[in-house]
Amino acid sequence: MPMTSLSSIALPSHRRTRAGTRGARFGLAVFLAAATLSGCSPEKLAGNDQLPPNVPDPGQTATPAGAIAAYHSAIVQLRTAFGGHDNSFVPVTGLLTDELRSGDVSQPNFTTDPMLVDSRFMPEDPGIGDDSTTPFPVWTVYGLLQKARGQARQARGALLAYAPDSSRALVGALNAIEGYADVLLADLFCSGVPLSTLDFGGDFTYQPGSSTEEVYQHAIAFFDSALAVSADSERVMNLARVGKGRALLALGRYAEAAQAVADVPDDFRYTFDFSATAAPNAINGDVNRMFAYHDFGLSTGPGMATTMVDTEGVNGLSYIGSGDPRTAWVSGAIFHGLALVRPASYPTNGSGSLVLASGVEARLIQAEAALQAGGAEWLAMLNALRTDGTFDTRPDSADSTKTDTLWHAGTGGVAGLAPLADPGSPDARVSLLFQERAYWLFLTGHRQGDLRRLIRDYGRDPERVYPTGTYPGAFDTYGGDVTAPIPGTERVSNPLFTGCRSRGA
């Protein structure tokens, strides 16, 4: 190791006093003399072999291969946060909205954290001690999404530092991943999400809470960065386009949203693929598996069981009773007398592909922009989705044998989707559009953002949007939350974070 490294240990700071510097020089001289006497060279003194068991030498990971491995991890982190965990974004937002119901409601006198989410009862923890009030699913999904952000930054730093010659699209993909993590945080959580940073080459930097609007704007910046560097990967470009369109839609910038997704082909799908095969050295064997493995699978138990629900809380859509092929269902296990219903397209062995972004979503964004712009084009676009078989192509997956969870027009369901008629009133049109989004994008993590938009951008009363009224579980009635709180652990540790700015939409 060169002497500069040694100096970084012994003589670290230019801010040291003159006396201290003299002392350091004297000490260094004595130290070198001692080292010489002991037969040790300075290189050996500063050796860095200081690791606990089974932890690679950090220096050895500072390689192109290490950077690629960090990139892989970033993708996996967002995959896990999105749908690879019982309490990932898709099932948690499914509970909060009308897509899913906690299976625990059938147990008398039994209260579980999923029920708290399901019943929209999620008080904000004051953050003055152990986080005792944040429901576990909320705490978990918050951490998973933030970890995806952190890992994306770590991987981006590693790629730029150690693999500068690799495809720029890898950096673009990481930007898109971080942008998506931002979008999902903004969709689910209250206004005031802190976007702290894990600093590559440093420690970390805390940030105060950002408003929901700021978080979406933050995401858009990442998507723009992704678009700027990912020209050699159409897949990454399309992911960034859809992500940007989604974020712009959330900001009510409909025309820009439509423009952002205009180039996304109809058959595009960006999926997260899950495997039924456990990872060789995963801490738990489920790291590769979709949330449905537990939530609808054989291991269903307290705190895990979920079920599809029909017209939940008055305002919910009829996902079961409608017979819509896009939300086709099958009966599952009986849990405490409650017949659990699961989506037919969600396998329960952990494998499958969960769609993060698609051409369908792009068209829906365009349709909404068209509705905002006025005219009848929006309905034609929705009907095109329902009847045009060109939307069904191969899954966007490395494994062509896997099917994704998005219902594919043209695979037999077209006959079941009759063209829509214009309901006539503006309000009804909005309802129809959002209903189409709900069915097309069923259980893909879009419903929560949509319901908040109905409140925020379309002025609807939350009690007309979210499930409300009598709750079948121990709480009796639904609460009033439309967003999840930031966990109390954030408030305990982040001195810049002072809590949610607003719990409204």
């Binding site: 000490g27 200081q50 089974n54 960090a70 001690g129 952190g150 305990v492």
Partner: protein, 1161 residues
């Protein structure tokens, strides 16, 4: 009146004269060289005694058989007569003609003499004392003539005729070496002088006649002698001083070299090992330390042979870093951590699931303590520096205290052999608590436990039972110990040597019950279980130590010491069946075993379910230390230490193939190799210079370099080949892990010390660097300041008659504890997730790292005094301290917005305070020739508190070991029982009738607040018979009694099933699974730690066995325990690593007795 009594009258000091006479007689009897005090005619008193002794031996008879002139006997009763008259009286009574000249002998001098039946020699010496006249016998004539002798340099300066002078010589009793600097005076006058380097002092112009000469020197018992001073010329008097009980004169090995203890502002405990091992049962270094160092808390890991103990000096200060003191052996550092991960069995600690603790989890077996791998017989002294105020200049991790060990060095002279051997037995004293079984029958006719809350169960009987108290079922038997030690030392003035070798063999008390051995044989085709299953606890240790010291010319010397220890420890899972057996009920009538599980009894075929797993630890500990000292100038001393300590460990955990275990019957083998290498280089230079105004400067500077490398490699396999216990042929490798760490530290220091008479002020500054510091860390500096004032040596000190020595002292210092090797780094973990159709390499952040991580800093202020009183019969040392640990490294949660949930970062936050008092009292209540009684008593009190946790850090840790600001570190917390009421009036308290608090409340400290120890030694028959006892007292330790109070073992509480139990007892059982409130107990313990009776054979008897000295002793350890603890023994803890302390059915310390023989050749 005998001559001795006459001498005593003259001396006016009965006990002292007795002692002198006895030593003289003993010296003549053993033909050993006489002590200096006896060899010189120091006074009329002792001279008379000596002459009397010679006469009694019959040495002065004439050829005819008549008494020689000088041995004839006379009696005198002369008061204030002339010397001439006195001589005439002697001549008259004895019939002897005395020849002298009146010009030479001052015949007109006035003398008094009262003797009965003394020899002429005694009488003449007495009346002629101080005259310079000697008695010579020439051809039968007795001639009185002027004495001729070679003058010392001091005498050369003496007064001429007409002025009397007294030459005083002072030497040490033990070493016979001169004591320079001793203040010599004449009582009632202002005459004083100070002894030279050769131990001489000259008192000029001393008034003639009877005078009392006094000598005082710090750390020694003051002495005085009555002499007759002549009118002119010289007289000589010699003193041998005995070191006082406060021992301030002792030489202390500091980081900057050797200093006198009285020069230091801090308290240091110094153990002279030979003086302890002579009367106490000592088998390890921990034994030496326990109870003898005020402020040191020793908590035993278990009673298994070789198990380490947790050593804490002045409380615990670190949450995550080690709290073990560092250890220096002959100037170099040795690996000493007893609380970190490497102190466990390398094989099992990284292969979770092999050994199970009482709560069902995997546990790490403690490996033998590196400290105890040092042979106590090879040690000369142990010095204990208790905190930063003393340890500032020792560098890395010195904030936890320093144990400085010096091995024995040889003395010039012929080879001196020592040998000792001991053989002992050990066993578990007393009875284990009995479980209370309220028994009924279930529908199958099997016994069931009828709890009070099970209203459908009808109890037939209430039985108290404990399998451990029944020899047929207990795993507790008798252990054995054997120890042999041999040493030789000697050499010449140029080269001395000391060699020590020892062998230890210990068998623990654990044994497989016969019924289980028989069951094993039934299951294995009649084969008896192997020896290791039947007697699993074994420890053997070989140790050899050598130390060579050479003079390299007049200005340099060097020493080389080497220690090699080979040790093998064996244990098995049988050890963990103690807890299982505590919860086992046996229907003795039909031999059915029932195991308790919560409130259920379940029948089982296995009395002890697991004794099939064996753990062994083979360790080799090698230390080599070299020291060179060079004094190029009179005012400059330089020295260098260099050395290495290597520990190599080969550990193994074996579950042989074919054992009956549900998990695996194909065998498991885990092999670990671990090691540590500690390298040390120290350079020192000390310069001295006089300063104006009587000040003196000593300037020390130096540099230290140390490097500690650790590594561990573990391999684990399953599916052993039949009949094998090796990796060869195994089916599958289940584990392969490797770890390594290097920590390099260096530092340099400057220590100016100013002295003025008996006032010393010492300052110092140390700067340190380490590879474990964060890259952005400033070089930490550690200052020190110490003041010591021997106020009793000052002329104005008014209480000299009361205090023999009185010193006040104060010290302040800082020291650090370094971060761990990788604590500051961002680390990663590798995974293999399924991605893009296959498994891919992925790299996650495991630990964020902290580029600003710096050492924990401790500052300590201590102050106190040392006093010797009542003629050295009482010595008191009192020290108060306040130790602050700043920048304590803690795992601080990082907000999830950085990298998700459960991310922690090591940060320097938190402040921990230890305050306390230490009192050490040494007394010699009786100090007579035939009988002495000496007692040492120490008392220490420590109060520990986490004063700050840092911003953003909430209390953390388990309820049994919690870190909360404002409370002791690792305190006990529990949800409290707020109340209970028999709402349904059925006289039974159920869970619903107990109100449990939601908030944890503090229950107590995991370390004792008060500790006291008392060692008392009785010596009879002039030391021929010695008896000693050692008591230890602890108070304030709050122990978690999981062994008898765990959810599965509530049978120990009457509240489970005894209808007569109180509601409080029932309430405790009702919530036992939710809170440990009822399991926590603040403990007071009085323990009779040691009892010893030894017989020192008279020299004549010793010589019959060909020895110079021979002793035999019967010694007992852990002889008695009186405590309010409901479990077996509160002073054990379940964990060898970390800071948790709790009793989970761990094997307590057994009681042991041993017979030992010591011989010197």
């Amino acid at each position: 009146m005998t001559a001795r009594r006459a001498a005593l009258l003259l001396a006016g000091c009965v006990p002292l004269a007795w002692a002198i006479t006895a030593r003289r007689a003993a010296a003549q009897d053993s033909a050993a060289p006489a002590p200096a005090s006896a060899a010189q005619p120091v006074s009329g008193a002792s001279g008379a005694a000596a002459a009397d002794a010679a006469g009694a031996a019959g040495a002065g008879r004439t050829e005819r058989g008549a008494p020689a002139p000088l041995t004839r006997r006379v009696s005198l009763a002369l008061t204030d007569v002339t010397l001439g008259a006195a001589l005439q009286e002697i001549a008259s009574q004895s019939g002897i003609n005395l020849s002298y000249s009146g010009r030479v002998v001052p015949v007109s001098r006035r003398v008094s003499a009262h003797f009965t039946d003394v020899t002429v020699r005694v009488a003449l010496d007495a009346v002629l004392a101080g005259t310079g006249i000697e008695v010579r016998e020439e051809e039968g004539r007795i001639i009185l003539a002027r004495r001729h002798h070679v003058k010392t340099s001091e005498e050369g300066e003496a007064d001429t005729v007409g002025h009397a002078a007294v030459v005083v010589r002072v030497v040490d009793t033990t070493t016979s070496q001169p004591i320079p600097g001793t203040v010599v005076g004449v009582k009632g006058t202002k005459l004083t002088a100070t002894t030279s380097q050769q131990g001489y002092a000259l008192l000029r112009s001393v008034p003639s006649g009877l005078q009392v000469v006094t000598v005082r020197f710090l750390g020694y018992v003051p002495a005085e002698k009555q002499i007759v001073v002549p009118d002119s010329g010289y007289t000589r008097v010699s003193f041998t001083l005995r070191m006082g009980m406060s021992r301030l004169q002792e030489v202390v090995t500091t980081a900057t070299g050797q200093r006198r203890r009285y020069e230091l502002g801090n308290d240091i405990t110094i153990l002279n090992v030979d003086s302890i091992t002579a009367t106490q049962p000592i088998t390890s270094v921990t034994d030496l330390l326990e109870g003898r160092v005020p402020g040191l808390t020793v908590q035993h890991t278990s009673g298994a042979p070789g198990d380490p103990s947790r050593l804490r000096l002045r409380g615990t200060s670190s949450v995550l870093r080690g709290n073990d003191p560092i250890v220096i052996v002959d100037g170099i550092r040795v690996y000493s951590a007893q609380s970190d991960s490497t102190s466990g069995n390398v094989a099992s600690s990284q292969f979770g699931g092999f050994f199970h603790n009482a709560s069902g989890g995997a546990t790490s077996l403690a490996a033998p303590s590196p400290l105890d791998q040092l042979d106590p017989h090879s040690i000369e002294t142990i010095e204990v520096l208790k905190g930063p105020s003393a340890a500032t200049l020792y560098g890395p991790d010195a904030a936890n205290g320093v144990i400085v060990i010096t091995t024995k060095r040889g003395q010039a002279g012929p080879a001196r052999w020592t040998a000792s051997a001991s053989r002992g037995t050990s066993y578990m004293p007393g009875q284990y608590p009995t479980g209370i079984y309220s028994l009924g029958q279930n529908s199958l006719g099997d016994l069931q436990l009828c709890t009070l809350t099970d209203f459908r169960c009808h109890a037939d009987s209430v039985v108290r039972f404990q399998a451990l108290n029944d020899d047929r079922y207990s795993v507790l038997g008798h252990g054995q110990t054997t120890n042999v030690s041999l040493g030789v030392s000697g050499g010449s003035a140029a080269l001395t040597y000391a060699l020590t070798g020892s062998y230890d063999d210990q068998t623990g008390i654990l044994r497989l019950p016969d019924v289980e051995a028989a069951r094993f044989a039934t299951l294995h085709g009649g084969a008896a279980p192997p020896d290791w299953m039947q007697r699993p606890q074994q420890l053997t240790r070989w140790s050899g130590t050598s130390r060579l010291t050479a003079k390299l010319g007049a200005r340099a010397d060097a020493s080389l010491s080497t220690t090699l220890t080979r040790e093998k420890q064996q244990r098995s899972t049988l050890e963990q069946q103690i807890s299982t057996l505590m919860g086992t009920y046996i229907d003795v009538a039909d031999g059915t075993y029932y195991r308790t599980s919560g409130t259920l009894l379940s029948k089982t075929d296995e009395l002890v379910p697991d004794f099939y797993q064996r753990a062994t630890d083979d360790a080799t500990n090698f230390t080599n230390a070299a020291n060179v000292t060079w004094r190029p100038l009179s005012w400059l001393t330089t020295s260098a230490d260099g050395g290495i300590n290597v520990i190599s460990r080969d550990d193994e955990v074996l579950l042989p193939r074919g054992m009956k275990l549900s998990r695996d019957t194909s065998g498991l083998l885990n092999i670990g190799h671990g090691g540590s290498v500690v390298s040390t280089v120290n350079l020192r230079a000390t310069a001295t210079a006089p300063l104006p105004l009587g000040f003196h400067l000593q300037l020390a500077t130096g540099a230290n370099y140390s490097k500690t490398s650790q590594s561990a490699l573990t391999t684990g396999v399953s599916g052993l080949a039949p009949g094998t216990s090796s990796l060869n042929g195994a089916d599958e490798i289940e584990l392969a892990t490797q770890s390594a760490s290097d920590v390099t530290s260096f530092g340099w220091y400057l220590e100016p010390t100013f002295t003025h008479r008996k006032f010393t002020i010492s300052t110092g500054l140390r700067l340190d660097g380490s590879s474990t510091f964060g890259a952005n860390v400033h070089l930490p500096a550690f200052p020190k300041l110490g003041v010591s004032w021997l106020i009793s040596e000052e002329p104005f000190f008014p209480f000299k008659n009361f205090f023999d020595v009185f010193r006040v002292r104060a010290a302040y210092g800082r020291a650090g504890v370094w971060p761990g090797p990788a604590d500051q780094l961002r680390l990663y973990t590798t995974t293999r997730p399924w991605l893009d159709g296959g498994f891919q390499d992925a790299l996650d952040v495991l630990k964020i790292g902290n580029s600003a991580l710096r050492p924990e800093r401790s500052s300590e202020m201590e102050g106190g005094f040392d006093a010797d009183m009542f003629g050295d019969r009482l010595s008191v040392e009192l020290t108060g301290y306040r130790k602050m640990r700043y920048d304590a490294i803690m795992n601080v949660p990082v907000a999830p917005s950085v990298y998700g949930n459960l991310v922690n970062m090591l940060r320097n936050i938190g402040v921990i305070r230890n305050t306390g008092l230490e009192l050490n009292v040494t007394t010699q209540l009786v100090r007579t020739d035939p009988f002495t009684w000496s007692t040492t008593f120490n008392l220490s009190r420590n109060h520990n508190q986490v004063t700050e946790l840092g911003a953003g850090v909430t209390p953390f840790g388990s309820n049994d070991s919690r870190v909360v600001a404002g409370y002791p570190l690792f305190g006990r917390w529990a949800r409290p029982i707020l109340g209970y009421a028999d709402v349904d009036s059925n006289h039974v308290i159920t869970r619903n009738e107990v109100q449990l608090g939601d908030t944890l409340v503090f229950m107590g400290s995991s370390e004792p607040n008060y500790e006291a120890n008392l060692f008392s030694t009785f010596s009879f028959l002039r030391g021929a018979l010695t008896a000693s006892v050692g008591f230890g007292y602890e108070d304030g330790l709050t122990q978690v009694n999981r062994a008898i109070g765990g959810p599965g073992q509530s049978i120990f509480s009457p509240g489970l099933s005894d209808p007569s139990s109180s509601f409080a007892q029932q309430a405790a059982v009702a919530v036992m699974s939710e809170t440990s409130y009822g399991l926590l107990q603040t403990v007071s313990t009085l323990r009779l730690n040691s009892v010893s009776v030894s017989f020192n054979a008279p020299p004549s008897l010793a010589r019959r066995f060909g020895t110079q000295a021979l002793s035999i002793a019967l010694q007992g350890m852990n002889v008695g325990l009186w405590t309010n603890y409901a479990g077996k023994d509160p002073n054990v803890n379940a964990f060898s690593t970390g800071n948790a302390v709790m009793d989970t059915g761990v094997l307590p310390m057994p009681r042991s007795w041993q017979l030992s023989v010591h011989a010197t050749y």
